[in-house]
Amino acid sequence: MAKVRPRVRVPKKASAGDVITIKTLISHPMESGQRKDRKTGELIPRKIINHFTASFNGEVVFDAAIEPAVSANPYFSFAMVVPESGTVAFKWVDDDGSIYTEEKSITVE
């Protein structure tokens, strides 16, 4: 099984009130539950990232409920306004209950 690895791009520095674009990607096969195993003909069970949340200093900025129709290695980008220095926390929830997280800090100068 390929290793699940989150990658996010957040600017390190910003001015207060700046609008930044955050890009996130997590390597994950997003097995849809529709595919069949070529050898056995059996359905490969669904295993996807079903939820993604980004929050800044504990406040939710962007939240996505995800269905199997989102591509493998799910990518999301969205905008955020930076009110102060702080940390953006990202959280991905897997069907199997695993939670993958990543954090990036932004310094307001």
């Binding site: 939710v60 996505a64 980008s77």
Partner: protein
């Protein structure tokens, strides 16, 4: 009553025409799609409005189709793919720190179909937009 093969063909066309007439003016969509949208809106018929959905006109590979949606004043936006085995794609919810209510992602499309975005506005209204995306799997032209 006796049906020839041609009669049956005509009946089929008539039934298809009836089905088309019965559809909503917004877009012809499958029952599953309609149910997904109604589930999201709580039974409210979404109207037209200021919502922008960017999709490629032709997607060469249906397994990663880039889409982005923008709708100022939206609280939540749902993406639906009308021709997929399950219509739901993703639902985005925006917080206070999201200035422009927009998001971009990549989605799977099983075949040429309509991609629909439905937005719930801050004032409780629902608006929607639909784009057709042509999917050419395996690059067979189209």
């Amino acid at each position: 009553m006796h049906f020839t093969r041609r009669d049956i063909g005509r009946l089929g066309i008539g039934a298809a025409a009836m089905a088309a007439l019965g559809a909503t003016p917004a877009a012809a969509m499958t029952d599953e799609t309609r149910a997904a949208i109604m589930d999201f809106t709580g039974g409210v018929e979404p109207g037209a409005g200021d919502i922008m959905l960017n999709t490629p006109e032709i997607a060469e590979n249906g397994s990663t189709v880039p889409v982005d949606v923008t709708c100022d004043g939206a609280r939540r936006i749902m993406l639906v793919a009308d021709g997929n085995p399950n219509p739901g794609v993703a639902t985005f919810e925006f917080g206070r720190l999201c200035p422009s209510r927009s998001a971009a992602t990549r989605i799977r499309l099983a075949a040429t179909q309509d991609v629909i975005a439905v937005a719930e506005m801050e004032d409780g209204r629902f608006i929607m937009v639909a784009n057709t995306v042509k999917v050419t799997i395996g690059g067979c032209g189209g």
